[in-house]
Subunit: 191 residues, 2 copies
């Protein structure tokens, strides 16, 4: 195995460790020392791969597949429910995401720009999905652009309720209920 | 003015300062020193009022009026939109709430129990409001218990989008759109 490959594997290990430590403590309270320790490096050794804590955060956020195994223009609305099913199987990633989203609204947070840009994109993508499914008006009369921030909000908001009470909040089912609400269909299942 | 009253005023000042510093930095990164400085106390002086940082957090969370100028069983569903209007006028409180909610999902966070209990209560209250308005089924066919976590999620999720892009996300209007969706009414306003 070449040095380049070993370096890449070590980088990936560090990113996984960073994800875990951020899930446990949040970003501001996460220390480079704790992340280094988890992969058997000294802090100096870690700085060889990521020169600053912020550079490490940006690399974690840059692993977009983690957050944005996400609708693109090829997606259909019903695949969103599969995404929520998938999210329910990876609590650590969702915990990291949710902790970072929370912190991102505090002042000068290095993840703020990432989330601000991300939501612009997510709302646009959601609107495109909704338009592909329903045209210019959903059954209730709202436009795709009106509903896009609501779909996004439901996904994020349910994650907090689920992370806090996983046995009580059935996130995938709750999201399916929301999709049914958008479709205006009558649901006969007992709640 | 008696010493008791001065003490209470000082306590209230400290709580306001703590709220601001948590809004700026989150709880884990908030320091007692920074909070003390903001009210012109030494850290020792602050510890006279709140013996630990966690005690201060619990007091901040205990000011329930801040978070839960909230529906009780006397509320009607349409008053929720007034609550969201009100929230849009107090970004610091909403920022503190949102930062703490984000942190609360990290391990052993002192706000975790508060938020876990809070959401049990909020979902129950929301279900009661929805039942008072719609009976056992909403127009789309869902039960109040199915919709309660969705209303809660929309309120929380919209707050993040709004805090990150206040000029782009009209939180009160988006929430009204959601309430219209629940009512199954046709909305003709252009989005």
């Amino acid at each position: 195995m070449g040095a380049g490959t070993r370096g890449e594997e070590r980088r990936a290990e560090i990113l996984r460790a960073a994800l875990e430590v951020i899930a446990e403590r949040g970003y501001r309270a996460a220390s480079l020392g704790a992340i280094a320790e988890r992969v058997g490096l000294t802090q100096q050794g870690l700085l060889h791969y990521f020169p600053t804590k912020e550079a490490l955060l940006i690399a974690v956020l840059g692993e977009r597949d983690q957050w944005d195994a996400m609708p693109d223009s090829q997606w259909r609305l019903d695949l969103l429910t599969s995404l929520v099913d998938y999210n329910a199987m990876r609590p650590t990633v969702i915990q990291t995401f949710s902790a970072l989203l929370g912190e991102s609204v505090t002042e000068d947070h290095p993840a703020r720009e990432f989330f601000t840009r991300r939501y612009v994109t997510v709302r646009e993508t959601m609107a495109a999905l909704l338009r592909a499914e329903y045209g210019d008006r959903l059954p209730g009369g709202l436009t795709p652009e009106q509903v896009a921030p609501l779909v996004t909000a439901v996904m994020d908001g349910l994650q907090y309720q689920w992370l806090l009470a996983p046995d009580e909040v059935d996130m995938p089912q709750a999201f399916r209920d929301f999709i049914a609400l958008l479709a205006g269909v009558t649901v006969t299942r007992e709640g």
